[in-house]
């Protein structure tokens, strides 16, 4: 029953204060040490040092969590609680997150390396909004009444699945948790959630707020552990009725496979991308440059929808490249807690090594390093904003997801050809088009094989607009009304009123 407490004193320009909260395996509203009594180190990406150690979850902890989640679903959550009440609790949780927004932003910066500024302006703002958005849906989960014949009453119910497993990544730790738990709770499911072992702190901080908001114990259970152990255990668990995952395509396949081999649990996946960003001759150059920078350098390039393949039409190619390079050079790399920093370190050694190895492969395969391509600083995992040019379509840096601040800029002439090149990928998460001719933008948008197409913007989400992938970028949609489908199971009820057989 021994729980650990994480305490940290912040004394920075962006945040001053002490945070102190319980950590551990969070099941049934309480923290405990994991079944194996082992721990995972949480690393500070600015210096590679250990921030704290937290309990490691194991398959036995997953079993326990599922058992508790099932009990809670049957007795004190699910359809035992009217939608109006579920909505009230979600709104309460949103209020609490908002109240503690500064603390959360500091935690994200410490754990993930993103700047406090971006954590507040993007991660926290969207997290609060998404909780409130789905709070509003909770009492609006309608089925249909369907006319068939006079002697039949037929209607559908959109029922919660029961226990849902949710596995979230490290790039937007709190925001990914909010995107997952909000629609699941609104529709009446209970949850076993595995945060990333790289960035567990904000999820653990949420646990006390979930209790304070008034959710019955066991509604949300949090088990931090390794993907191939805890994530695998969840994917193959016979007691989990649905699994939702955000992460790499590689791992997404494993999850779907495990689901298929176990109990055919419903699967939604939000996976990787190599999203094309097409800048036409008639684009507003300054806007295109600014958005394109946001497209690949925001969040240090660690966004699934990053516009990492930048196609620029020949007539403005030189101007664009010059302005884009200038823009990239203007981005300030620095301490996540410094008020003027734009970009902090990449999240971990593993990611740093991965990205650097892609940069090396680009160099080796003959691409030109137009900008950057090196480590920034001598400590921590900073990588310079990097631009490759003179690439060919078969190069690894053009085909594979790098997940870092590395963009490839490719010249094109013909619109047909660029649409073909843009679609020539196994991914299909997002795409962007820059042009002053909106009609042209719409026509191109309609031909791009992507779940989100941005016209004259990029990397902008709204909690009420769906988001998700075509092709190998995913299955299902998050955000918007569409996400409700991920967490409801349709039951058709046929009431015979007179037909005899």
């Amino acid at each position: 029953m021994s729980t650990t407490t994480f305490t940290h004193e912040f004394d920075t320009d962006s945040f001053k204060g002490k945070v102190s909260f319980a950590t551990g395996i969070f099941i049934d509203g309480k923290f405990s040490a994991g079944a194996s009594n082992t721990t995972i180190d949480v690393i500070n990406p600015t210096n590679g040092k250990v921030i704290t150690s937290i309990a490691e979850g194991t398959p036995a902890d997953v079993d326990h969590a599922v058992q508790v989640a099932k009990r809670t679903f049957e007795q004190s959550w699910g359809l035992n609680v009217p939608g109006q009440q579920r909505g009230l609790l979600l709104n309460k949780l949103a209020d609490l997150v908002e109240k503690h927004a500064d603390e959360f932003a500091a935690l994200e910066a410490l754990d993930n390396g993103k700047t406090v500024f971006w954590a507040k302006v993007a991660d926290l703002a969207i997290s609060v909004d998404v909780l409130r958005y789905y709070a509003g849906w909770a009492d609006k989960i309608h089925g249909q009444v369907i006319e068939t014949s006079e002697d039949k009453l037929a209607y559908t119910r959109h029922e919660p699945f029961g226990v849902v497993g949710q596995i979230i990544p490290w790039n937007f730790p709190l925001m990914m948790m909010a995107w997952k738990i909000a629609p699941a709770l609104a529709t009446g499911n209970t949850i076993v959630l595995k945060p990333s072992e790289f960035t567990p702190l904000s999820a653990l901080r949420m646990c006390a707020l979930i209790n304070e908001a008034g959710f019955p114990p066991g509604t949300v259970n949090v088990v931090v552990g390794y993907g191939n152990i805890v994530g695998q255990a969840m994917s193959e668990h016979m007691g989990i009725d649905k699994i939702a995952f955000t992460g790499s395509t590689l791992v997404g396949r494993k999850i779907m496979e495990a689901a298929a081999k176990s109990n055919l649990k419903n699967v939604t996946l939000e996976l990787g991308g190599k999203s094309p960003n097409i800048v036409m001759n008639d684009a507003d150059l300054e806007a295109a440059v600014n958005w394109s920078s946001h497209g690949i350098f925001w969040n240090h390039g660690q966004a699934c929808c990053a516009g990492s393949r930048i196609y620029v039409q020949s007539q403005i190619y030189d101007q664009f490249l010059e302005a884009f390079t200038k823009k990239a050079l203007s981005l300030k790399l620095g301490d996540p807690f410094a008020v003027d920093s734009y970009q902090g370190p990449q999240v971990s050694q593993v990611q740093y090594d991965r990205i650097m190895s892609y940069i090396d492969s680009g160099k080796q395969q003959g691409a030109t390093v137009h900008l950057g391509g090196e480590r920034h600083g001598t400590e921590g995992f900073w990588i310079q904003p990097t631009i490759f040019t003179d690439t060919t379509p078969d190069m690894r840096i053009v085909r594979e997801e790098i997940f870092g601040p590395v963009g490839v800029v490719i010249k094109f002439e013909d619109e047909e050809d660029v649409v073909r090149q843009a679609n020539d990928t196994m991914y299909g998460l997002a795409a962007a088009v820059f042009t002053k001719d909106i009609t042209r933008g719409i026509q191109v948008a309609h031909r791009l094989q992507a779940g989100t197409v941005w016209v004259n913007c990029i990397n902008q989400v709204h909690v009420n607009v769906p988001f998700g992938g075509y092709k190998q970028s995913g299955v299902g949609r998050e955000l918007g009304e569409y996400a409700l489908n991920n967490y409801t199971n349709v039951k058709a009820v046929h009431v015979n009123l007179g037909h005899t057989i």
């Binding site: 939608g83 109006q84 909505g87 009230l88 709104n91 909004d129 409130r132 958005y133 709070a135 509003g136 849906w137 909770a138 009492d139 609006k140 309608h142 009453l153 009609t439 719409i442 026509q443 309609h446 909690v463 009420n464 009304e481 009431v495 009123l497 007179g498």
Partner: protein
């Protein structure tokens, strides 16, 4: 222009601003053309205060304020997220002030404080929160026409400036039902509360300002129906009128809308709702629901189950159980904890209800309980049950709007349905039976916008409500209420089709 009204059994007062609430300020009438309205306490028959009565010119000012807000700070100028935030804030403020609002409601309307607080206001807060939840979810459609040539999208736009005219039976709750969906969609409002019960609408206006709504989004103009109500219904710059009240007035509103600018109209009107007790019913439970159906809010409910039809095999037994239930309800002062119901709202209503009771006696119906006036002050009408009624009696055909029930008898299910549907109204109906096939057959056959099976008078903010036949046009509550405030614009965007000319 602020009065202090004493709260009974306490040393405190509640303040009420008595001007017209326009552009977030309480202002006097521009021309003082109308006599101030005297506002009464129906328990004591005394005047609580007077409030400004809006004239036709004041209505013009209010409409202009609403129009300006629609064009500048509301309508398409505000996001669904912001509308949600403000409506939720308003709900929080009403919840914060629930006790004070309940006391004011009770003083003006007569209903018990605890019922005003826990039911009227509790449900109103829920209603605002429900529609706050819709505000950022109002979507149009994108419709595939021709991939190479064009696309069509629909935009759900707010209808515009809405005149809302609400009654005196549930002043706060009717305010919430109207205001919430209109705001969620982005409409602006000129709200005319009943001249009999304007006080809580004025008090709620203070909270509208405190919540942070831009000036002009909601304007409150107490006025006589024949002045302010008529002016809104016929106003050339009002895009839609929503009215809850009598069918007679509803007709006038629709007529004024037609002859002025063809503004959109939604109406929630009267009823003479049938309540059917089949022989298989749980007698005790059915009697509870039947009592609720006619005595809740002292019968001043558009859905009152005012025509009870009991199957002949259980008629006498049921009537006797029901009479017992009716006698258990304490009708008294709203500030008395033991009161389950209060007086009727006004002298006018008091006289009206008693006229109907007299006509019932004159036309030969049998008084089972009630039917006798009290000798003490207050517009009290005690529960009155008439038996041995025939379909042509006034008390069976016309809406009484008081705690007066007529109980008829039937033999077969078909007869019950025929009796139930034999009315120009169609607001609600109820039936009690433990035969589920019968429940389905009868609920399918009843011509009413709401049918209660084995219950009565229970509504939910997420289930639509409204009348068939002459009980109304349109629906409130649920997602359907949003449709009443949305005007769809279809945009056909051509980017590929060239037109050959001449044809």
């Amino acid at each position: 222009m602020v009065v202090q009204i004493a709260i009974p059994n306490s040393n405190s007062t509640v303040s009420v601003a008595t001007g017209l609430f326009i552009n977030n300020e309480f202002v006097p009438s521009v021309d003082k053309a109308e006599e101030p309205i005297k506002v009464y306490n129906p328990s004591t028959e005394e005047v609580l205060c007077t409030v400004t009565s809006a004239s036709v010119k004041d209505i013009d000012v209010a409409v202009a304020a609403a129009r300006k807000a629609l064009k500048t700070t509301w309508g398409k100028n505000v996001t669904g997220f912001e509308r949600a935030r403000l409506i939720n804030k308003l709900a929080d403020l009403i919840e914060r002030d629930a006790q004070t609002l309940a006391e004011l409601e009770s003083l003006n309307n007569g209903k018990p404080v605890k019922i005003a607080r826990d039911f009227d206001i509790g449900d109103s807060v829920g209603c605002l929160r429900y529609y706050a939840g819709w505000a950022d979810k109002i979507t149009g459609q994108s419709i595939e026409i021709d991939r190479n040539m064009k696309v069509a999208v629909t935009h759900p736009e707010p209808i515009g400036v809405c005149g809302q005219i609400i009654p005196w039976n549930y002043p706060i709750q009717m305010w919430a039902w109207k205001v919430a969906p209109a705001l969620a969609v982005g409409c602006t409002i000129v709200m005319k509360p009943s001249e009999i019960t304007p006080l809580t609408a004025l008090k709620l206006s203070e909270l509208v300002k405190e919540a942070g709504f831009p000036p002009g989004v909601i304007n409150t103009v107490p006025s006589l129906g024949s002045v302010g109500g008529a002016a809104l219904a016929s106003h050339k710059d009002v895009d839609k009128v929503a009215f809850t009240g009598s069918t007679i007035t509803g007709r006038k509103i629709m007529e004024a809308a037609a002859t002025s600018n063809l503004k959109k109209v939604s109406l929630e009107l009267g009823g003479k709702s049938p309540h059917i007790i089949f022989e298989s019913a749980d007698i005790d439970q059915a009697a509870n629901w039947a009592a609720l159906g006619i005595l809740y809010n002292t019968g001043q409910d558009c859905t009152a189950g005012s025509r009870l039809y009991v199957q002949d095999t259980i008629y006498d037994k049921f009537l006797s159980v029901l009479a017992g239930k009716a006698k258990e309800l304490v009708i008294g002062d709203g500030f008395d904890e033991s009161s389950g119901g209060g007086p009727v709202v006004s002298k006018g209503q008091y006289d009206r209800v008693w006229n109907y009771i007299d006509s019932g006696k004159k036309e030969g119906a049998r008084v089972v309980i009630g039917g006798e006036k009290r000798s003490t002050p207050g517009y009290y009408v005690d529960a009155t049950i008439f038996a041995d009624v025939t379909p042509n009696m006034k008390i069976v055909k016309e809406e009484i709007f008081g705690p007066v029930l007529s109980v008829g008898k039937f033999h077969t299910e078909e007869e019950a349905i025929a009796l139930a549907n034999d009315t120009t109204y169609g607001l609600a109906a109820g039936l009690h039976s433990t035969d589920s096939s019968q429940c389905h057959r009868v609920s399918t056959a009843l011509e009413a916008g709401t049918v209660w099976v084995n219950q009565y008078n229970v509504l939910y903010n997420n289930v639509p409500f409204g009348g068939k036949k002459q009980s109304g046009i349109g629906r409130e509550l649920g997602s359907q209420a949003l449709d009443e405030y949305i005007s769809t614009k279809a945009v056909h965007w051509n980017y590929g089709e060239k037109l050959d000319w001449p044809l």
